[in-house]
């Protein structure tokens, strides 16, 4: 079935000799390879690929020219380099076994739209060094063969493992994009059908008129060849009308299909919009032919009642607002499905809105997968861990909230077209099951076919006929007078908008039920033969009730954090792959859980990010990995590469601030010291840059450890200097060590040129102060000496530090000037881990009950005091000075926990001090 020899089975992990990794073991990525590959650069193992970095490719199998690439994301020719997109498109399109069923199934009279689920394949091309996650989807095009246009979106990477291990998330994100495209496509398709039907209608009327003229001209029942031809033509047009009407009905019944796609996410608003639109169209064109042909039929069908009204109403509507400029055209008997015709572009196939939204989604996807697997994994671990320790995050970690959104926002069922997220639902609880199962690839397809066959049998020709007859009957009974129909109009028009106005079935289920149950009642007697799906109001009910039950299912499955597994879809091999998957990405399910919990928390996250700058090529950075430039002035640190995701948020904030948006995260160019304390968000990028500065500080000043101790034990550090640049640099370097600096580094003031007061000391923990030789300067010095017990003073000019003596060990590994770390970002990571450990200790200390409160009522406070002391000294191994750090951190944690809102504000913060003497450190 799968023709490509390189097609990689997703479940092949253990066949390659890997066992399921122990979740506690060090991931393989982190272990040092014993025998390096040919390449000495461990990161360059993918460098033989012809493209420099991962990209997303959208291709189509054109019925005219075959597989062709449509666009790449990022849309930059540099991205794919010398990589042959045409060839690769051929490759990826050739493994499409989704569209295995196209065209008319035997036995059905009308052309059928094939409802095909998306398929997901991972394939590799070892020669090209390219691996791809390929997501096939089918869009409808009235002019295309079988009405379908096969497309595929592929995530192309040089790293096979990256794709394999990210399969789930890739699949989710691409499904989202695909759903978005398809939703737009359905709307566009319905519109196209509408246009076509109008044309046909017009043609029909013209032909009928001609026929009538002929009949008048020659009343006797003699048919000339011409007349016969006309009659045939008329019949053809009628047939075509039926066909298209049926297509319209099919497309509008799209939503009630059972979806097997685990990631099928539908926006309820979009769905309802589309549904009501289709419904209107369906109503409008349901009986086009009838007035002309038969008006004497008998047989009443209450169900079609709305349709009749809708016709008049719809036409008025049509004339007024829908397409005032559109004039129907005569349609030739044979439509040209030839190669000379221009096929619609992808953008035309979908609504513009949906297309743009999809591209945004894909861009977002591309962005979130930047960096190598190791980085992705680390970041994920990091995030998972950080999410678990929300109490202490404020101390040293940058704010997660923003990033969290950009990172996991796309994993939520978000409508790409900016509808409120609350309207979005995952139609199926996503089981951890892959659609692909190479050992028995047929099963799914067969299943699909079966289900489709089932559907087909349901809406057979017979259905339509009954519908027709009932229509006619109704018409006869209602007197076929337009006046009568108009009388009823009020009732139906009021009903139809109901569907439009109630986007959320949960909110107004009763209303919906009422209206649709009405329909059910009126039709109950006669539609035994009809498939349920034929009736649009009923179908609406169906969909919604289905949604409801799904939701219930989901909510049932949620409490334990796992989703229901569709056991019937679960194939043994899949489970193994799931296990291996989970072993590595064990937190993968967590991103899927939050959406339900904070679905309504932040509607803004619907907005997708925009790439503001060109992504950087990978190769130069790879060079940096291999060639280490110790202590180089440029902080273009090697690990800057993975920062891209953050870099974008960085640039976004910089755009918000109105500064230049040319800042590229990955350039690592020399830039002015980060504007800490300017009210903007301190981003990870800025912090990493500061890492270089702090490394320099640590290496340059032997008393760095004392300075750090001051900061971390809550003693305000004043950096005094005449040169603003130097002071600012020092401040931004030291700002990394300020515990709980606040979201916008509120506790840091990088440059102050007025004498400070006690209030400032309460507010700021790190102050850059200008040394001046003026009266202002002397009063400043006076305030310095006055408040000397509260502050430590780092003199940037004379390179001295005045602070209490520190002789602890805790900060030694962070601030030794003989450190072997040469890179700022490495040092930053080192710091992060050390600080994180410290925060964890502080957390433990803070929340250990018996360290603060007596265990029994008889216990004296001194006992508790002793216990606390013992804990700090013996269990944590902290000396007197080091304990101060922990006590300060603990105090911050307590404050934050007690008043999370005002924790950062200066309004009610206390200011602890310690009466100790200071000593002067010199270089």
């Amino acid at each position: 079935m799968i023709g490509s020899p390189d097609l990689v089975a997703f479940t092949k992990e253990d066949e390659y000799g890997h066992t399921n990794p122990d979740p506690w073991a060090v991931p393989e990525e982190f272990s040092v390879p014993l025998h390096p590959l040919v390449d000495l650069n461990p990161w360059a193992k993918t460098s033989y690929a012809k493209f420099t970095k991962d990209f997303i490719l959208i291709s189509e199998f054109s019925e005219q020219v075959g597989p062709q690439p449509l666009l790449t994301i990022p849309d930059d020719p540099k991205v794919c380099g010398s990589f042959d997109l045409n060839y690769f498109s051929l490759r990826i399109m050739s493994v499409d076994y989704q569209a295995s069923f196209v065209g008319h199934p035997p036995g059905s009279g009308y052309p059928r739209l094939s409802f095909v689920e998306d398929s997901r394949v991972v394939l590799g091309d070892s020669k090209e060094g390219a691996f791809a996650y390929v997501h096939h989807l089918t869009l409808y095009d009235l002019e295309a063969r079988g009405f379908v246009r096969p497309f595929c979106m592929a995530y192309v990477s040089a790293d096979e493992r990256k794709i394999m291990l990210q399969f789930e998330e890739l699949s989710f994100r691409f499904s989202q994009a695909s759903e978005c495209l398809k939703a737009g496509n359905r709307r566009a398709f319905a519109k196209e059908l509408q246009r076509k039907l109008r044309d046909l209608e017009y043609t029909h009327s013209v032909l009928q008129k001609e026929e009538g003229l002929q009949r008048e001209a020659r009343p006797q029942t003699m048919y000339s060849a011409h007349a016969v031809e006309k009659a045939n033509e008329l019949a053809n047009v009628e047939k075509s009308i039926y066909e298209h009407r049926d297509l319209l009905r099919q497309i509008s019944s799209y939503h009630q299909r059972p979806r097997r796609d685990p990631n099928a996410v539908t926006c309820q608003t979009c769905l309802n919009e589309c549904l009501s639109e289709c419904e209107q169209l369906l109503d409008k064109f349901a009986k086009i032919a009838s007035p002309f042909t038969h008006s004497e039929d008998s047989g009443e069908d209450g169900r079609s009642q709305p349709d009749g009204e809708e016709e008049v109403d719809g036409e008025e509507e049509e004339g007024v607002r829908r397409r005032p400029s559109y004039t129907p055209q005569l349609i030739k008997a044979k439509s040209a499905k030839c190669f000379d015709k221009r096929l619609k572009t992808l953008q035309e196939l979908c609504d513009d809105v949906f297309y743009e939204a999809t591209v945004e989604l894909l861009k977002d996807t591309e962005r979130s997968f930047r960096g190598d697997l190791c980085y992705l994994h680390t970041r994920r671990l990091d995030r998972a861990l950080r999410r678990k320790q929300q109490v202490t995050n404020f101390l040293f970690e940058e704010d997660l909230g923003e990033d969290e959104e950009s990172e996991f926002g796309a994993l939520r069922p978000v409508c790409a077209v900016n509808h409120v997220r609350a309207n979005c639902t995952i139609l199926n609880p996503p089981p951890v099951v892959l659609q692909l199962d190479p050992p028995e690839p047929d099963s799914d397809t067969i299943q699909t076919q079966q289900s489709e066959c089932h559907l087909d049998s349901a809406d057979s020709d017979h259905t339509v006929e009954t519908q027709e007859t009932t229509e006619r009957y109704r018409r006869g009974q209602s007197g076929a007078g337009p006046v009568d129909r108009k009388q009823d109009q009020g009732g139906t028009t009021s009903e139809t908008p109901d569907h439009d106005l109630t986007p959320d079935p949960v909110l107004t289920p009763d209303l919906e039920r009422e209206s649709s149950s009405e329909d059910l009642e009126t039709t109950a007697g006669e539609d035994e033969g009809d498939s349920v799906g034929d009736q649009t109001p009923v179908s609406l009910l169906e969909v919604e009730s289905e949604l409801m039950t799904r939701r219930e299912d989901e909510s049932e499955g949620r409490p334990d954090g796992t989703f229901d597994m569709d056991s019937d879809l679960l194939i043994p091999i899949d489970t193994t792959c799931c296990l291996s998957q989970e072993g590595f990405l064990y937190d993968d399910s967590t991103p899927l859980v939050p959406p339900f919990m904070d679905q309504s928390s932040d509607p803004q996250s619907c907005e997708t990010l925009v790439v503001k700058q060109e992504p950087q090529a990978l190769l130069p950075l790879q060079d940096q990995y291999s060639v280490s430039s110790p202590g180089s002035g440029s902080p273009a640190a090697g690990l800057d590469l993975p920062v891209l995701a953050f870099g974008d948020s960085d640039s976004r904030t910089s755009v918000e601030e109105g500064s230049d948006c040319t800042l590229s995260a990955s350039t690592g160019s020399e830039r002015a010291p980060s504007p800490l304390g300017y009210g903007g968000m301190v981003t990870l990028h800025q912090r990493k840059k500061a890492g270089q500065g702090s490394l320099r500080f640590v290496r340059q000043y032997p008393f760095a450890v004392q300075a750090l101790w001051c900061l971390m034990s809550g003693r305000t550090l004043v950096v005094l200097g005449t040169d603003e640049g130097r002071v600012r640099r020092l401040v931004s370097a030291l700002a990394l060590f300020v515990p709980g600096p606040g979201k916008c580094a509120e506790k840091v003031q990088s440059w102050l040129s007025v004498p400070f007061t006690l209030t400032d000391l309460q507010r700021w923990k790190l102050i850059g102060l200008q040394r001046m030789a003026s009266p202002v300067g002397s009063s400043m010095l006076y305030s310095l000496s006055r408040y000397s017990r509260y502050i430590s003073i780092l003199d940037a000019d004379q390179k001295t530090l005045r602070c209490p003596p520190y002789c602890g060990q805790l900060l030694a590994n962070m601030a030794t000037h003989r450190t072997y770390i040469r890179r700022g970002s490495t040092y930053f990571l080192h710091l992060q881990s050390t600080l994180c450990r410290l925060a964890a200790k502080a957390f433990l200390f803070t929340f250990t009950h018996h360290l603060h409160l007596p265990v029994s009522s008889t216990e004296a406070p001194e006992v508790v005091e002793g216990r606390r002391h013992c804990f700090l000294q013996e269990q944590l191994g902290l000396g007197e000075d080091d304990s101060l750090i922990l006590l300060y951190l603990s105090q911050l944690i307590t404050q934050q926990y007690l008043q999370p809102t005002t924790g950062g504000s200066a309004a009610s913060t206390c200011f602890s001090l310690k009466y100790t003497t200071s000593v002067l450190y010199k270089i």
Binding site: R786, S788, H852, L853, Q891, T894, C910, Y915, T917, L920
Partner: protein, 451 residues
């Protein structure tokens, strides 16, 4: 100490002005290890009044009265109404209900008096058409009236009805008021202390009559305090401290504090030659705990024992500038604040070694006699008396950038200071606070049912 910053040139003098009193930063006995700055005033904050265990009110030149929660540092109420600076403030406790209710009475330069409810922030009563501004207030809870002193002396009922009034003839008006036994009140007016008696007639109307005028002070009376039921004390600008019998208004002790120059070779000797300036002897503030009297004399402190009628301890230069407010925390601990912006904590300690040169001050001490107080040779009592002790600095609170006008202690809950720099500072025991926070944390943890 900061020469390394200053480059060893400027401001050196100011730093070394009082080397004796520089305690340094090592202050193990200072338990105020946490502070909180309370902002809200726009001008000098002059008055602090404790309302109850956790609230205090502050008032100052901006005419605002702010009510603070001392435990949290939260501003509870903002009492607006006075258009000019507040000149006096006191609490007024009414016991008529089930629970005593405390109100605030304020007087302002806009010649108005107001009664405030600190719970709601409402201005309950106000009198605005006074002839002069009120300088001091005294509440006589026993009679359920209160007295306002300014150029005239008025007695008011609790619902702000004027009971009686007395015009004064001195220019300065009443500067201090205290309550004496037998429905008497003492009012300090310039150099004299006038005793008035309030009599309640049969129709429950009050009348006030002047009984006695004590004119023993040579200079303006600056401070007037009750010591206990039988004693009260007054201090004058010239450094006279007089102990009076509260019943028959006789002088029990007369102390003229004359800061004489010390013999020790300290830098000040060259600076201070000759007779001390009056301001250096002025008794700014008196406080007592019944056993000891603490007098703020110029920039020095003076502790006087009521029982022995002798000096217990003193320090001539306790602050760099005038001492504005003092307090006796216990029999051995005291606190003072000064125009130099600091609050200092002192301990009365025995002299460590008798061999040490005795404390260098000279002061006159007379009992029941004052005729020869200036001329007579000062008796060297401190040197003779073995139990004269020293006043040792145990800690200082530096935070205000202006003169510290006043402070109020809330015992272990902390200390509130107010200053000309428009700020109030709440000083707390950091350890205690962190313990309280821990308690709150575990309480919240319990309420939340875990993290």
């Amino acid at each position: 100490m900061f020469r390394w910053i200053l480059g060893g040139r400027e401001a050196q003098g100011s730093v070394e002005k009082s080397p004796v009193l520089c305690i340094g930063e090592e202050q193990p006995k200072n338990w105020f290890t946490e502070l909180q700055v309370l902002k809200g005033h726009f001008d000098i904050v002059r008055f602090l009044v404790q309302i109850d265990d956790f609230r205090c009110a502050s008032a100052g030149d901006d005419g605002l009265v702010l009510v603070w929660n001392v435990e949290t540092g939260e501003r509870l109420q903002e009492l607006r109404g006075h258009s000019q600076q507040i000149t006096a403030m006191t609490t007024f406790t009414c016991n008529n209900g089930a629970l005593p209710h405390t109100s605030l009475i304020t007087a302002s330069s806009d010649k108005s008096l107001s009664l405030w409810d600190p719970d709601t922030g409402n201005r309950v009563q106000t009198i605005s058409d006074l002839q002069s501004s009120v300088k001091c207030l005294l509440v006589l809870e026993r009679l359920c009236v209160w007295v306002s002193g300014g150029e005239e002396l008025c007695v008011w009922s609790k619902d702000f009805q004027l009971q009686c009034q007395r015009q004064n003839h001195s220019d300065t008006g009443v500067t201090a008021l205290i309550e004496l036994p037998k429905n008497c009140i003492a009012a300090a007016m310039d150099k004299v202390i006038v005793i008035y008696r309030l009599t309640v007639s049969t129709d429950s109307s009050l009348s006030m009559s002047e009984i006695r005028c004590l004119s023993d002070h040579q200079d303006q009376v600056r401070a007037l305090i009750n010591i206990n039921d039988g004693l009260f004390a007054s201090g004058s600008h010239a450094g006279e401290l007089i102990l009076w019998d509260a019943v028959d208004w006789n002088i029990l002790a007369y102390e003229h504090i004359l800061w004489e120059e010390s013999q020790t070779p300290s830098p000040q000797t060259e600076i201070r030659i000759g007779a001390p300036k009056p301001s250096e002897m002025s008794i700014q503030h008196l406080t007592t705990n019944g056993k000891l009297i603490l007098a703020a004399v110029g920039s020095g402190l003076y502790v006087y024992s009521v029982q022995t009628k002798t000096v217990v301890a003193y320090r001539k230069v306790a602050h760099d500038s005038n001492v504005l407010h003092t307090m006796l925390l216990s029999d051995s601990e005291l606190m003072s604040c000064s125009e130099d912006g600091s609050v200092r904590m002192w301990e009365i300690q025995d002299l460590p070694l008798p061999a040490e040169p005795t404390s260098p001050g000279f002061f006159g001490m007379w009992t029941f006699g004052r005729s020869n107080k200036q001329s007579g040779p000062p008796s060297k009592k401190p040197a003779d008396v073995p139990h004269v002790r020293t006043l040792e600095l145990t800690g200082d609170l530096i935070g205000h950038s202006g003169a510290v006008q006043m402070f109020v202690s809330f015992k272990e809950n902390g200390l509130v200071t107010c200053s000309t720099d428009h700020l109030l500072i709440l000083w707390k025991n950091g350890e205690r606070q962190s313990h309280l926070r821990s308690l709150a944390l575990f309480q919240k943890l319990e309420e939340n049912g875990g993290l």
